[in-house]
């Protein structure tokens, strides 16, 4: 964001945090989460806070409101917002600031809206509650903001319930809500992380424009460097609750000083070794003319593709494109209406309940949310050991040895991890355990459903490398479902692009990333944020002239 022309009026300091220290409680002991951070924010400035999960960026963001999560406490430093000392302010004084002068936009709008109330009622609650305006005035303002945020049908969309609008629209409705009282400071906590690329770009553009229009200051928290490059004037890199580096966006992107920052920048460098073509052998999995439906709603239309031994096929598309449904058909959770799935040229029964143990064993699945994919009440020993015992009938020492072997395979130290519960693991470790559980069945084929999208980049990178290594060692085939094109580029041999239940493009990875593309592939590819701080401006300019944006907002 290059608002040099505004700099004169913006020099006034809005928020100043000095030597901020925050403790968190676990097992009756206080651990320092934030270890002395200084943040200065001027009016109209956008500050990007980045770092991997656990770096303390969200905690620092919330502290700007004088708020800490339950089980945390501010142990030192000062927080001064526009001359008000938030450390000594009473709860009542802080409550008057929140929502009015400081607003917060959470990562998951879907979880942050009350599902029982209409959007516009939730919008007007804040200004009415704080006595800023009447209900009618607030509703009129909401419609205006909905329009500015490019929501479709701004006059009526507010009368819908949260579940009646899409995720991207909900995130924008939440931004509108944050703007209800025209705050001086807005804290965005990963507002686009849960969205797919084409939706993300719309939200990014509208958020940035609206922040500029109201000349609000913002703290933008994310783990996505390319996103922060588009949004922020200044970037702070955090790690383990400490500041690593701070600089202007341009300087930071062009010339990071610290080693850690460089590794963050270099993360996207992973590239799988090119493998040969597979057309000569017979495919491991063949999906033949599959049409599938949820009740009367057809979600897959005549899909066909092959997956060969040792090959990674990436399936790309935005949410609702049918890519996860394709996986459900292969695993047998959703029997196809027409067509069939063949494994080694033998047709599989459509329903998983009719498949033999061996047929089930050969196709394993790794899920997006490792949190819900492992039973929180089982120890790692049981999570990994069960498939081994179930499919291969191992017992006692043999079983124990196999579990240790699998843990070693996923680079977790057996003696440390075997007796832990999933709650005692980090997100990346949990995902590794899920991989081990899939491997325990000794499969030939693994479906990876958005396995890295819930993880931050460094951890995701580790998972991708692990999957790649395992593929080479064990000759596994992967079906990799994702909406992240950087991941696709990194690991896939073949790419399938899906749109509205149909395959729109299908080909080797290298070909996919070289033009000419199908129009939709082009939209997907161009929506992936790049590190260049001026990328978003350039793209918007290009789309405005070509009119591509229309198709993005209607899809």
């Amino acid at each position: 964001m290059n608002n040099n022309d505004n700099n004169e009026s913006n020099s006034e300091v809005l928020l100043e945090m000095r030597g901020l220290r925050i403790d968190g409680q676990s097992d009756d002991e206080w651990h320092e989460i934030i270890k002395g951070i200084d943040i200065t924010l001027h009016r109209g400035e956008v500050l990007g806070l980045i770092g991997e999960s656990g770096a303390g960026k969200s905690t620092a963001g919330l502290a700007a409101m004088g708020y800490v999560h339950p089980g945390c406490r501010i142990s030192g430093g000062s927080i001064v917002f526009d001359g008000i000392d938030l450390m000594s302010a009473s709860e009542d004084e802080k409550r008057k600031l929140r929502g009015v002068r400081i607003a917060y936009v959470a990562q998951s709008a879907a979880a942050s809206f009350n599902p029982a109330h209409k959007l516009i009622d939730q919008f007007s609650e804040i200004p009415v509650e704080h006595g800023k305006s009447s209900k009618d005035a607030a509703e009129a303002d909401a419609k205006d903001l909905y329009g500015r945020l490019l929501l479709p049908d701004p006059d009526n969309i507010g009368y819908r319930y949260p579940h009646q609008v899409s995720g991207g629209q909900l995130q924008r409705a939440m931004t509108a809500m944050a703007l209800a009282c025209r705050p001086d400071l807005i804290i965005f906590d990963e507002p686009t992380t849960a969205l797919d690329v084409t939706t993300q770009i719309e939200v990014l553009v509208t958020i940035r424009d609206i922040v500029r229009q109201f000349n609000a200051a913002a703290i933008y928290i994310t783990h996505d460097l390319a996103v922060v490059a588009q949004m922020a004037d200044r970037i702070m890199v955090l790690r383990y609750g400490e500041l690593v580096e701070e600089a202007d966006t341009d300087t930071m992107m062009a010339d990071p000083k610290k080693e850690y920052t460089k590794t963050l920048w270099a993360v996207r460098s992973f590239k799988k070794q090119a493998t040969g073509t597979y057309t000569d052998t017979s495919p491991l999995i063949r999906v033949e003319n599959v049409t599938a439906a949820y009740g009367p709603l057809t979600v897959l239309h005549d899909i066909s593709f092959d997956i060969h031994r040792g090959q990674t096929v990436a399936v790309v598309g935005e949410s609702g494109s049918g890519k996860s449904t394709a996986a459900r058909v292969i695993t047998g959770l959703l029997p196809p209406k027409e067509g069939q799935v063949l494994v080694n040229n033998e047709p599989l029964p459509g329903d998983y309940r009719k498949r033999t143990k061996d047929q089930l064993r050969h196709a394993q699945m790794i899920y997006q949310m490792a949190d819900t994919a492992v039973n929180p009440r089982h120890r790692i020993r049981e999570i990994i050991g069960r498939p081994v015992a179930f499919y291969l009938g191992m017992k006692g020492d043999e079983l124990e040895n196999r579990i240790c072997e699998l843990l070693n395979l996923i680079e977790l130290e057996p003696s440390q991890f075997i007796d832990r519960f999933p709650g005692e693991l980090s997100g990346g470790q949990k995902q590794r355990v899920c991989i081990a559980r899939a491997l325990a069945a000794e499969p030939e084929f693994i479906i990876c459903d958005e396995v890295t999208s819930a993880l931050d980049q460094i951890v995701a990178e580790g998972i991708l490398r692990l999957l790649d290594r395992l593929q080479r060692e064990l000759d596994l085939a992967y079906m990799f479902i994702t909406h992240d094109l950087a991941t696709v580029r990194a690991i896939s041999d073949e790419v399938i692009v899906m749109l509205q239940g149909r395959i729109v493009e299908h080909g080797p990875c290298a070909e996919m990333f070289t033009p000419p593309h199908h129009e939709y592939t082009d939209l997907l590819l161009s929506s992936v944020p790049e590190m260049d701080p001026n990328w978003l401006d350039g793209l918007m300019e290009k789309r405005r002239t070509e009119g591509v944006m229309e198709s993005a907002s209607t899809s």
Partner: protein, 308 residues
């Protein structure tokens, strides 16, 4: 893989302190207990006291359970024919009140406990099965439970007891079945949230049978609400038995039981004597104690959920 980024991953992602060894789990439980709030400690002491009394009633009591030892309605502290004092007086048939109170603990608590366990066995299993199998199994079970719940429980129990007679096994089965409808509702509701989780889907895709899914995958995850419900349900069963006994269809004389003891000595209330309220107070104290412990347990488990 030996390139630098991979090692960074290992350090950042895997830097979690090692877990406590297994032997320390008992010590952890003890430490947890010491940290418990006063109310929970009080509740635990009450429960332990009741269990102790229930187990050792024959040793603790001066007289036999249904032994007539003196005149009717003796006052507190009267000395009987054998030179032993009736600390709490005697009841309407001249039996020692204290003795019957202690034996009452044994009978009422024991029967209530067995009944509650049975109710949870029936309701819990049926509830999880209904959630896990869905479809017509769920429909059949749920509608059957609806029918049972449509009839007021106490009246239904009275009806069934009149039909099947009033022996203790019949009493246990009838109350257990009627109470299992409530347990079924809860078990089904919480299980529905669990069966949609990916790990249950993973277990299904692995080819696991319904038994494994019910007991190993779903049950451990619904334990906190179920245990809390167990505490509350135990009190309700307790009160139901007492109510039935008061109405004459519960535990039959001469077996000592708090509900029937209130009824037997009810005439004394007219004279301003508190003796008939003692069994009622015993019930109240236990109910309060159990609920303190349940509250503490609920608080603890909900606190754990916040951390995740």
């Amino acid at each position: 893989m030996s390139d630098p980024v991979e090692t960074t991953v290992g350090q950042t992602a895997d830097a979690v302190p090692p877990p406590p060894p297994r032997q320390r789990r008992l010590a952890d439980a003890w430490r947890e207990l010491k940290k418990a709030p006063m109310s929970a400690k009080f509740g635990l002491v009450v429960i332990v006291g009741y269990v102790f009394v229930a187990l050792f009633a024959p040793v603790l009591t001066p007289f036999g359970e249904s032994e007539i030892v003196g005149a009717e309605f003796e006052e507190w502290g009267t000395v009987g024919a054998e030179g032993k004092q009736f600390i709490l007086g005697t009841d309407n048939l001249g039996r020692d009140m204290l003795t019957r109170l202690l034996y009452g603990a044994r009978n009422t608590i024991g029967i209530a406990f067995v009944t509650t366990c049975l109710a949870f066995l029936i309701g819990g299993v049926a509830g999880i099965l209904a959630a896990a199998l869905a479809g017509w199994v769920d429909q059949a079970l749920s509608r059957f439970v609806d029918i049972l719940m449509a009839i007021p429980a106490l009246i239904f129990a009275l009806l069934l007891l009149t039909i099947f007679g009033t022996s203790i096994p019949v009493l246990i089965v009838i109350i257990a079945v009627l109470d299992s409808t409530r347990v079924f509702r809860l078990a089904r509701a919480v299980s529905l949230n669990v069966v949609v989780m990916d790990f249950v889907e993973a277990a299904r895709l692995r080819g696991e049978g319904i038994g494994w899914i019910t007991i190993r995958e779903v049950l451990p995850n619904i334990m906190p609400p179920m245990v809390a419900e167990f505490g509350l349900r135990f009190c309700f069963v307790f009160l139901t038995i007492a109510a039935l006994s008061f109405l004459g269809l519960g535990i039959q004389p001469p077996t000592a039981d708090w509900g029937s003891m209130v009824r037997d000595n009810a005439t004394l209330i007219t004279y301003g004597d508190v003796t008939p309220l003692l069994p009622a107070a015993a019930i109240a104290l236990l109910t309060v104690g159990v609920n303190f412990v349940v509250d503490w347990f609920l608080h603890k488990t909900s606190g754990l959920r916040d951390e995740q």
